[in-house]
């Protein structure tokens, strides 16, 4: 049967036409190559960036500390025994010397001997100046420690920290090096005894600004950024969504709305520093809001984020099929009901993604904040958004300007943290999108 039909259906093979297949496939292969090359290039630079940042920054999360048995000597803290009547005494006491004495004793140096003054100075140099606040806080929190001895992990000085992490070249002649040979010897001794160790650097997340690297952290910047993100979210989401809904669903399509649309798109492309100038002029000089406040920063970033959110929201609204709108109107829904019952829920994933991307953009924004004075030395946590604060990227900017090795490492550490925040936000955007995405 098959044989038959085959032999019957036999026809002389037609000459094949040249329809340029070879050329078309070659073009496709070439295009694929360009694409893969572009992606590979992108991935290479991304990996290079991540590698340098992590390599330079991961050490910032560990901080060399010294475990000292500190004697809270009443003679040193409160020589006149006035602390019962004058609590201020405890704040001004010479705590640094307590730590120095404890360490000197460990290293076998007699503190009373005048001949050891040079050595004692080197001993002091091992310990961070931040020990003063650290010990003071212990005493103020619980004055009964006075007269007792306690083991306390105190921070090592920044140079000691760098040396301990192997970031200082000890082959350099001693005179041109911040850490002296004697100190290196002591460090080795302490490390061997387990008294000097690298511990998790919680201060990186809690400390405010400081001129000493080991006691400076991103606490203020984190709070400032948090305030600003909240302000941006609370203001730009409702305003942006309301504006988009009006423009997309209610506004008549005419010259005026075309003009507004063009301007919103342009606004999204305005350099962010211009928004900083605007904020300076309007919020600080005209409205009289305080400089360096996260409120002003939040307002400026809101202005900057609004176009992004509006564009994303309008795109999400446009993507809702018209058949859904007709269906709602067809059963007698008002326009408002149509939008809020049907269109908005379908557009929600797009709106959320746009908002999160906008927020992430705002979180990484530096330039406008410099203009409104958020590039300040702020040591104390801002209690309200009206208090001076800094922001994560500004903190990175400020640390990047410092020369000390320990600040260099902190700069990269802060970048890692910022990148983690951004990655988390983008991840949230993806998850929300997946979760709420509906088919129709």
């Amino acid at each position: 049967m098959t044989d038959l039909s085959l032999s019957e259906g036999k026809v002389a093979p037609r000459a094949r036409r040249d329809i340029g297949l070879r050329r078309r496939y070659a073009a496709e292969a070439r295009f694929r190559f360009y694409g893969i090359f572009a992606i590979a290039l992108g991935i290479f630079f991304l990996l290079a960036l991540l590698f340098t940042v992590f390599k330079g920054g991961y050490t910032a999360f560990w901080q060399t500390s010294i475990n000292l048995p500190i004697t809270f000597d009443a003679e040193t803290i409160d020589p006149d025994n006035k602390r019962a009547t004058d609590p201020g005494k405890l704040l001004t006491a010479n705590y640094t010397v307590l730590a120095r004495n404890a360490l000197a004793e460990k290293l076998g140096i007699d503190v009373e001997d005048k001949a050891n003054r040079a050595d004692l100075k080197l001993v002091s140099g091992l310990i961070s100046q931040g020990v003063r606040t650290q010990l003071r806080d212990i005493v103020v929190a619980d004055p009964s420690v006075i007269g007792t001895t306690r083991n306390v992990w105190v921070l090592a000085a920044a140079d000691v920290d760098s040396a301990h992490k192997g970031q200082i070249d000890l082959a350099v002649p001693e005179a041109r090096r911040k850490v002296k040979d004697q100190q290196v010897e002591w460090m080795n001794k302490l490390s061997q005894e387990g008294m000097m160790a690298e511990r998790f650097n919680s201060g990186l997340f809690t400390f405010g600004a400081s001129s000493r690297p080991e006691t400076s952290g991103m606490g203020v910047a984190l709070i400032g950024s948090l305030y600003m993100m909240l302000i941006v979210l609370v203001l730009s989401l409702p305003i942006g969504v309301a504006a988009s809904i009006y423009l997309e669903e209610f506004a008549p399509k005419n010259r005026m709305t075309d003009l507004i649309e063009v301007n919103i798109n342009n606004l999204a492309a305005v350099p962010s520093i211009v928004f900083g100038l605007l904020g300076l002029a309007v919020f600080i000089n005209f409205a009289g809001l305080p400089r360096s406040a996260s409120l002003v920063g939040g307002l400026v970033l809101t202005l900057m984020t609004l176009p992004t959110i509006i564009i994303a929201t309008r795109a999400a609204l446009k993507a809702v099929p018209p058949s859904i709108r007709s269906a709602a109107l067809g059963v007698g829904a008002s326009r408002m009901q149509m939008v809020f019952h049907h269109v908005l829920p379908l557009a929600a994933p797009g709106i959320l993604t746009g908002t999160i991307i906008g927020l992430a953009q705002a979180l990484g924004e530096t330039a406008p904040l410099l203009l409104i004075g958020m590039v300040a030395f702020v040591a104390n946590y801002p209690a309200t958004p009206m208090d001076p604060a800094t922001a994560l990227p500004v903190q990175i900017f400020m640390w990047a300007n410092e020369a000390e090795r320990a600040f260099v490492e902190r700069t990269s550490g802060a970048i890692i943290i910022l990148l983690l925040f951004l990655a988390a936000m983008n991840l949230a955007a993806i998850i929300l999108r997946r979760r709420f995405e509906r088919r129709w």
């Binding site: 008549p252 399509k253 099929p321 058949s323 859904i324 709108r325 007709s326 269906a327 709602a328 109107l329 067809g330 059963v331 007698g332 829904a333 008002s334 009901q337 019952h341 049907h342 379908l346 509906r438 088919r439 129709w440």
Partner: protein
């Protein structure tokens, strides 16, 4: 004897016993500069199915959309002339378009259920119009609507599953149920069977025939057989003009206009 004759006359209703439900007079529609309908005069009679036929682009959908003012949602569309529903001009300032659409429901060419559950699809209209006081009332409306739309048996066990998960024919019947759930007086159907297979089409046609008892129906169709099967009156459009209208029987056997004749016999369109 006399009464018997009268009875018989009543049972076989003649044209005049059907009141005019919708009356279109000199209806013109422009989309921007372009005119899509030219002075259409067309009446729709109560409890009858009126079919609109004509070649593609002749303005059938445009006319249909005038009847519940769906053209309002198209920015460029302008409607002139008068259309009355029970004697009231629906383009009058005093007429609320939301209320009008609750009285004149619509079923679209492509099934367009809301991306919600089957129950929600049907319950949405009654809910926004406050037609049900209690949950039980709403359940009742949903059930009767789905039954009237001849889809109840297929969906009664899956009321809370997505309406978009139904087959095309089921979706279209769901949309019909959604339209009748708000108890409209008129139902407009724009090629309701164009996306359906012959079996689903037959079911929808049966359904239309049943619905005629309680509703006035205007249907756009490209199928001459369908128009002949379901409608009592037919209106033929061509290039934006109403060519001819009349009893379906007459239109399909003995049309007055040459163009109608040609279109019905498939010579153009």
């Amino acid at each position: 004897m006399l009464t018997d004759v009268a009875m018989e006359q009543k049972l076989a209703p003649t044209q005049d016993q059907h009141m005019i439900k919708i009356q279109g007079q000199e209806v013109c529609v422009h989309y921007g500069e372009k005119q899509a309908l030219f002075s259409v005069n067309l009446d729709v009679r109560e409890n009858q199915v009126t079919a609109l036929i004509g070649p593609s682009g002749c303005g059938k959908s445009t006319f249909l959309r005038c009847l519940n003012r769906m053209n309002d949602t198209i920015d460029s569309a302008r409607v002139s002339g008068t259309i009355t529903l029970d004697g009231e001009n629906i383009y009058d300032k005093a007429i609320d378009v939301v209320e009008l659409r609750a009285r004149v429901g619509m079923v679209f060419q492509k099934p367009n259920p809301f991306p919600k559950s089957i129950y929600e699809n049907v319950a949405y209209g009654p809910r926004i119009h406050g037609l049900a006081k209690k949950k039980a009332d709403l359940d009742e409306i949903v059930e009767t609507s789905l039954k009237k739309a001849a889809i109840w048996n297929e969906v009664k066990d899956r009321l809370h599953e997505a309406g978009t998960g139904l087959s095309g024919g089921q979706q279209q019947r769901l949309c019909i149920a959604r339209a009748i759930a708000v108890s409209p007086e008129v139902i407009l159907m724009d090629e309701p069977c164009s996306a359906l297979d012959p079996i689903a089409t037959a079911r929808v046609e049966e359904l239309i025939d049943e619905l005629r008892q309680n509703y006035t129906i205007v249907i756009v169709t490209h199928s001459m057989q369908q128009a002949a099967r379901v409608s009592q009156r037919t209106a033929m459009f061509h290039l934006g003009y109403l060519v001819e209208e009349g009893d379906t029987d007459k239109m399909f056997t003995n049309p007055d206009d040459k163009r109608t004749q040609d279109y019905i016999t498939g010579r153009f369109g």
